[in-house]
Symmetry: D2
């Protein structure tokens, strides 16, 4: 951490600041010149609150040199984390460390026939996890809000039928008890910085699928994962799902660079959700391929048997037939990349 | 709402779609040409889920003509809403409809001496409400997270001392009971689309200060207010606090146009938070002035007696002396604009 | 400038780098710790190419401490620059240093009657300069491209009729000769980083109105002004005209903070163009007021007698009557701010 | 095109507007309801200036249904355009329609030894075109501005030595004559909307590499290509090179979705420049792979033998050895995709 001091600061005040850092177990190097005076802070600065340092009257600016996250940092944990999801029949589904996962299913769970038929379809095509929304974050209060608790029960029925572990989004901590049999709890983009929820999930003992907020930087994304890991839970799957930019042709802009960057900075597995990133069915296949090529550990794809009658986000879903042919392409590409699916 | 149909669609399928709209009490006008076929949907389309229409296989695109919100829409409620906050001594503080409010105080409540002295200072300078964070959303799990329940108690003590009604942020619905004596409940930018919370606040019977999410459009902002109003609570103050853009000199980019735009589209009062928008103390005065000139109904300003020892966001706070001189400028400008402070 | 070195770098290579800086007349302070090694570079680093330093294999990262611009920097030129535009009748129009300027007129020059009548109208209402586009940058090759050379002649005629100095946009350097009688040459947002043009304008001896590019940072904006000043021309008016963000209600997002920030960082005058920033006529008055309150030295407003028949950008123009009433408001506010108009 | 009319508009004024459209050879469908009145404009609306329609006082809003570009539109030209660059020895290099091209070389041409050695290196590794900057757009007037005319001569020498056709950027139209022997003229991101230049290049008879502006939408990008094609030149290569967003880890955000979207909307070939998109050498390989997988027709990569002594953008260049191993990966992936390199 580098602290740039204001010109003509009294020696005594600088010494007070230096002592403050030394009391935190850090050491300071002082450089002074005609135009600038700099303090180089050496040591583990993860716990230094950069805003507080910046607020000191004698401080002009502060710049971090090392990352503000530690638990999720690859520097301190070089090996890939493999997220392991136990499957009812004694097996497990893995994501990360060479294992590629495909999470597929409808945006919303709508009825028992729909979710069971979808589960069978995506299983047949090679999906390894079943997704389905029970609690739905909708921009309008007048839109369908999900089947809620009943939706989770229908997902569990579909799991029994197919053996596919299930992924579903939690929207409020008060529902946590309802998720006790859900295999992977999804934190949606809008809750990426719901810190109270992240802390609780750090102690829930279940794998978490953490989606990147649509205007959050990669560093903020990793800081949110740090919240969960700081609570003791390292079974975290990071999910890039597009960021908000000025471009309007696609619903969001898939930040494909985030995939290799997250692989570089962190040991956690990274999956991509091309359905939400693009919002356009015909983009799902090329963006899935691009994600595999960029080093993703998995994909999350919305599939609906009748997109035109879906109760939410039908416009971005593909049909089971389209999913099947996309999976053919994905499988051969995953093989080409030397990963297991 | 305008529905653009795909070329060469069968007549029968178009008729099915038209019937669907007619069953919702809407009427359809059909226009067909060499290159495009269009359905104009006439009536109250607020409850039509645009994504579902778009998902229909015969639909090329859908465009809204009227706004998707109704309760917060000025078209259906032309008069300004005045948010009225009862003050302990039989008076009330008003925001909106010609009443200008100033919410001031520290980012975080730190101790009883701090919050009482700050409350007295900002009261003396002319603030009409006291702000103070008890539950703090912090990017890092290693940063100070607020005094929580104790912070709210200290705020209430400061209210007793000064008579200033208090504003504090709620971070999780499970804390709602703790806010029973808080005068205005703040929904932070990160929770603007926490729909479960918005629904609950629609039924809490208290004024809500709703902050715009840092990557949310004005329309999404109003849809979140619509969630609260749909629940029966129309005492909502909208707060513009800067959006995330490519510019890095300021922490966020204050969207000053949002002030007159919100005034135009909605009857709800609009306040501006220049502290979070800019993140730089010397910008607070010019941005406050710009906000008044653009038509804001109030301001929300962070003040700290010793910004350099603040436990959060000190870098963006101004001192009581700076706040006092800013208030002198603001007061004369509010007068110039013909509003009451 | 702070250079963060990679871990475990050989001493000899660090010394080579230090010598490189010393040969540029700079001094280096070396700080080494367990996790980080830092070089603090002290002196005038304006001419150091930060990308070249970053490219050195032993360098992890580089951070600037002082601004990369010098001529336009208020630190080295504390007094406001006043741009003085000589008027035919022996007077001059000033912008900056307490002088407020209003540039008004149609987006495009269309015919002699139009430009003369518009010039008379805006003069009557209090505008101090006449704007009019002769060369028009249009997104579509099929849209009206401006009257070109003839448009400039018509502007000169209007200047003769009213005495108003004229401002018009140059689109290509090859047209420079045609601008010999234009009082202020405008560089449009799309040409803000047309460096060949900026260099030539640095030597043209005329005031330049430099518009901020729609995705350029404040620092890049000042670097472009630095190009012009480095060529010897300090008669530069900076123009904030909105930046591109995710918000779609307004055409662009007016970055109101840029006004006080530019005033802080540079001595050059700053004007605001609310017409292009918003793209909506009813936003021009509130945004003009906000600009004056934020410290702007002037405004640039599109006025058209029949916006519905304008050959370009009619949708964002106001009528002479609307301009007249906006000017009444602006004049009293400029007075309130203690400036001269 | 759909025109939404204001409520309570006089019949006569609507008829005038309808007549205006009919005079342009378009037909109008009129739909009127309780809340909205709509005109559906049917026919070739490419030449309708949407801003002019929006400026009509009786118009509330206008929405385009069909694309505003025609020449570059795949709807009217379904087959892929193949850009063919003649090579001195009677052969040609192709990009598009199944032919994959790799453009490689240093950011700036620095001296004859450098450019010849780089040309030989990239040729050996499989590049099909040589890039090298002679005129360099630099943010700072104090940075190296390129060898200019001499740089182009050195590129031609390198072409003679290796047979590689050359690509170089034009910064001002006045230099066009100097580019007579350059094989592909590059229009940089900052000049994407330099319409005077685009028009001239539409008549220059040479292939153009058009880079997307860093804040330009895909539609604006295609409109700029339309400018060139409208002038008669259809030998255009579109280049996605990253857009500006809030994310700061990478220099820009590679918009990978733009590749399949451009392939869908236009018949022109699309290449990706991962060097400028990321600004980080270790991202070049994963982003190149992602580009191939997403359907790109080529890549543009910066290579420098000693990035740390490069006169520009060294930080984002890879070494010839890194390029060689990246090319091994790219070649097998291009083969996997069924394209020719």
């Amino acid at each position: 951490m580098i602290v740039i001091l204001k010109q003509n600061t009294e020696k005594a005040r600088i010494e007070t600041l230096i002592k403050k850092f030394e009391n935190m177990g850090l050491s300071c190097h002082y450089s002074s010149g005609a135009h600038t005076t700099i303090l180089g802070i050496i040591g583990d600065t993860t716990r230094v609150d950069i805003d507080l340092v910046r607020a000191d009257e004698i401080v002009e600016d502060v710049k971090r040199v090392s990352e503000p996250y530690k638990a999720v940092n690859r520097k301190f944990h070089p090996d890939d984390t493999i997220v392991r999801i136990p499957v009812s029949k004694g097996k497990e589904v893995c994501i990360g460390g060479g294992f590629f996962g495909v999470i597929a299913g409808p945006c919303s769970v709508e009825c028992v026939e729909q979710i069971i038929s979808m589960a069978k379809e995506v299983y047949k095509s090679g999906a390894t996890l079943l997704r389905g929304g029970a609690f739905k974050p909708r921009t309008s209060p007048y839109s369908f809000q999900g089947l809620q608790a009943q939706g989770l029960e229908l997902l569990l029925t579909a799991k029994q039928e197919t053996g596919l572990p299930i992924v579903s989004e939690i929207m409020d901590l008060s529902h946590l008890e309802l998720f006790r049999d859900v295999d992977v709890i999804q934190v949606g983009a809008r809750n990426m910085q719901n810190f109270t929820m992240l802390k609780a999930l750090g102690q829930c003992g279940k794998p978490i699928l953490l989606k990147r907020g649509l205007a959050n930087t990669i560093e903020e994304f990793l800081m949110s994962a740090e919240y969960i890991m700081a609570g003791g839970n390292s079974q975290i799957i990071l999910c890039e799902r597009g960021i908000r930019t000025f471009e309007t042709f696609t619903r969001n802009t898939l930040d494909i660079s985030a995939v290799p960057v997250l692989n570089h900075l962190s040991h956690l597995p990274v999956v991509v959700d091309p359905s939400h990133a693009a919002g356009i069915p015909w983009l799902i296949q090329p963006l899935s391929k691009a994600s595999v090529a960029a080093g993703a550990d998995g994909l999350m794809i919305e599939v609906h048997n009748k997109p035109s009658t879906a109760l939410s986000d039908g416009a971005q879903s593909i049909t089971p037939a389209q999913f099947n042919s996309t999976m053919d392409v994905i499988k051969s590409q995953v093989l080409f990349e030397g990963k297991k699916l």
